[in-house]
Point group: C3
Chain length 388, copies 3
């Protein structure tokens, strides 16, 4: 349970709204955090989307998320707010990764983690471990591109690739509550929406198998993978998550605008597979629009709130401009360090608290509606769509 | 006249500003509302841009506009604010559509409706009826694509198509105060700006006449239609409205960015035909930029305020960042249900009231300037550009 | 030193923060202002990005920047706030351009001007004169496209063009602290990032030299110029400024999104030449993202704050959402009239003051951190990157 003072200052919220905001959250999109103790260089690289150290004389702590860690995570480690980075990291080392992870995950107030296991290495906690440390249930989201890598490295030949992929996807999906694609990184969301024919797939697979450890960037195979994932999602009634917007530096931001998915969204409308647009910043208004007109489209802000930190309330507001209340979900997109889980939940609660306080204060919404909406976005919508 | 408490809470505005904000508005872009009583399913589809019912277990009332109807329209129907949807709809049925329309339109405080008649069917009030119920003047805006449909269904052959279209446009324009195009829906705003030659038009018309009831999507004919509309606009000194940004699900949002019109805007600059960019969300900053550098470009927010409702003030603010005061106009873009007219006017007034209160409170603007700007945006600019 | 009441109203800021906000600024991107007295028509054209007078019956004073001049610059000329335009211009003429420029530049509180001399004509103050009038140091930023014009008009033949350009760039860079490109205007930021080969450059130069006074728009020569500029920048450790976003009407706004530079940014990452994204509005969130993931990318808001004036605080907030504190810089982008310098500095200070006050008030940042960040953005980052 998060402490009540995680909510922003201001006139007191009605009790029902306050309770709804502090209620346990379903974190429908997150990753494992590192199980080991981290030196400063490694820690700094896990609190930024940059792939490189900060320029000489600067630090990744001099960012909105860096300031937020010092403000909000320091007290969880028994330090005063705004502790200097060196003090914070010394205390972190003193407590040890297991205790730090336990405290930060636990206080985030998460009731269920849906973990994208596509990034899992030995150093990251598994979904089950995340749940155990966080005092929460845990389920798996299968990353399509990860399944494909396994197939590419093991399949006998190009002709067997389509069948092996379908089988591997079905097997992976059997233990999952949802699928995810990072085609935004591997190609862009402006992909051709036509399903490629078997001949084209086998030909492309032939080229792929010549270097199966390379990153998958072939557009034919990416589209084939996506459509194969959709087949499995439809069979098992699973939603498919799309990375959209802001992220690591290997994204071309202007090609990660979720509006570019419009044609694909329309193509999937008859089948009804739920599509969940993740992060979306700075295209979250576009995402809210898509969620407002297509019945099978959902949206969250994930990563965007953690990294914009003290500025995140504006983004929460902008999504709320248009998104139907039954279409938004909470996620922390935590990864690498448990601070990202803690801050994701904290800024989600603070941003929504502020937005609801304004609406109640101006007479726009009743307290009962505000509480109901907080429950929907925080957990209810995810429970319905992922059938938890 | 709208009630004074439609303005947002806060320190009292100077009298002149308050009066300017509550003064009658020219609604330079709207549609007819349904004359008949509506069941819940029909009503829900008219309060969303979605083309489908909300997913099972959800409702289109769980949206910003749905909450706003319960908050602001319920009292106009003698209900308490935040009335549940079923109560609201029962009361609506009890009063009957004519009385509901009369109350909601009247209290919106509109002095003139400029009605896009391109969507008119038997079920929608005509421009004259909108005026009569709303206690306002009413004029017509001619939708180019609607005129073309009539021509396509009646013309004798492809060779006569260009002449018949020019004639029909001239005839329609003779009774109108402006023209409108929805090329954003039919193709996108990234159209080739060259005027197509007669040969190409006749050839395309030949294909069109093979199936004249189909929706016009041929890019050559769409461009020909647009340029033909510009000819008529120039002859009769009429402005041309462009749908931009957010709308029904048959739009590709990223192709509805008004910045894509830049080349076309430049091509029309010598002729001086006023171009009015409608809605524009989430590209309203781009629209404000265009209005700030091209003397013949105007902008409004229309639809965007009605649907973002409790979140609309931020959008009003963002347009005001750059738009010259003589370039913005009010519209409700009301359609289908009179609630959309009421809310369009209400959120326009509330958003502008808040923006002016901030500017006056911080000493940025004088009260006299604030009042003058409110009169310009609310009615003066439209009177000048449409020569009302 | 700017007067303390340039800061926005609200609870008092901690002394250290107040002092940091009022400390002298490095204006890392500006232009000369006119040395002569200006009539109303000329003045109006210098307070807008439009290239044409306001439509009949309207005035460019009816804009956010026009209201801001009347509010904030009028007192500097001994007038009451909100003076009417005619009164303002009469007083301006009475004082004379030299005195007006001295007062406005001086009160902006600038300690160093980095002047883009690419627009210099006889009527504009030189960098040295800007410094003298403003009581500040002054250095030069070399505009690549201006150097190329000189070369195109003087070089003997196409075969000598590449060598002459390289020499001229090296000579110009020798007296400069940075370079600037306006390829956003001449082509768009979606240029092919490959460096063109010598054969293609000489062939394009042949065409160029047939009409050397024409504006350079050939994409091969623009790319060659840019890469030649990068060579010089690397040799002399100079940063390269890119115009991005909003500007004069000869820009295609959607092609000025800095995200379109992503491929070019990646290509320059190994060499480490700092790239500074100027203005960026309304794509400043995209710019902040780029600055957050690429170690050699920096960003400012320049022009955007001056022209959005009373609405500028929201833009400051949006950039702060994601930009690392060591990656943002102040600039006024002043040009033509000294009012633009005064307002650029004023709205920068007001916007940042408000953002810091909110962060301190909500307990997000310590006062010490807020003061430190204000010093970094206002001057420290520019001193480091330009090695002042």
């Amino acid at each position: 349970m998060p402490p009540a003072d995680d909510l922003p200052p201001g006139p007191p919220l009605p009790d029902a709204v306050r309770e709804a905001l502090l209620a346990p959250l379903v974190d429908h999109h997150c990753h494992g955090v590192r199980r080991d103790d981290l030196g400063r260089a490694a820690f700094e690289l896990l609190i930024t989307e940059a792939a490189t150290p900060a320029p000489p004389g600067t630090t990744h702590f001099d960012t909105p998320i860096g300031a937020a860690i010092r403000r909000w995570c320091a007290p969880v480690l028994d330090l005063a707010p705004h502790a200097p980075p060196a003090v914070y990291l010394a205390r972190r080392a003193e407590l040890g990764a297991a205790e730090v992870n336990r405290r930060l995950l636990r206080q985030a107030g998460i009731v269920a983690f849906l973990v994208d296991t596509g990034l899992n290495g030995a150093g990251l906690l598994s979904a089950a471990e995340m749940g155990r440390l966080g005092g929460a249930a845990a389920d798996e989201i299968v990353r399509l591109e990860r399944v494909e890598e396994t197939v590419a490295r093991s399949v006998g030949g190009a002709a067997e690739y389509p069948g092996a992929l379908a089988e591997a996807l079905a097997a992976a999906a059997a233990r999952a509550v949802g699928l995810k694609t990072v085609i935004a990184y591997r190609y862009g969301l402006d992909f051709d929406i036509e399903r490629p024919g078997r001949g084209a797939v086998v030909a492309a697979a032939g080229r792929r198998l010549a270097d199966p450890k390379a990153r998958l960037t072939d557009p034919v195979l990416l589209r084939h993978l996506l459509w194969s994932g959709v087949d499995v999602a439809r069979q098992r009634s699973l939603p498919v998550q799309f990375h959209c917007g802001y992220g690591d530096p290997d994204i071309d931001l202007h090609r990660a605008d979720p509006a570019l998915l419009t044609g694909f969204i329309r193509a999937l409308q008859p089948g009804g597979v739920p599509l969940i647009l993740l992060h979306c910043y700075p295209f979250h208004r576009q995402a809210a629009y898509l969620a407002s007109v297509y019945p099978h489209v959902y949206v969250d802000l994930g990563l965007a709130l953690t990294h914009t930190a003290a500025g995140s309330a504006a983004i929460v507001d902008e999504l709320l401009e248009l998104v139907p209340f039954h279409k938004q979900m909470f996620s922390s997109d935590c990864y690498g360090v448990a601070e990202t889980c803690h801050l994701g939940a904290l800024y989600y609660r603070r941003g929504l608290a502020r937005a609801l306080a304004v609406r109640i204060g101006e007479g726009e919404w009743s307290a009962a509606d505000a509480a109901r909406v907080a429950h929907m976005i925080g957990a209810g919508n995810a429970r319905r769509v992922y059938r938890l």
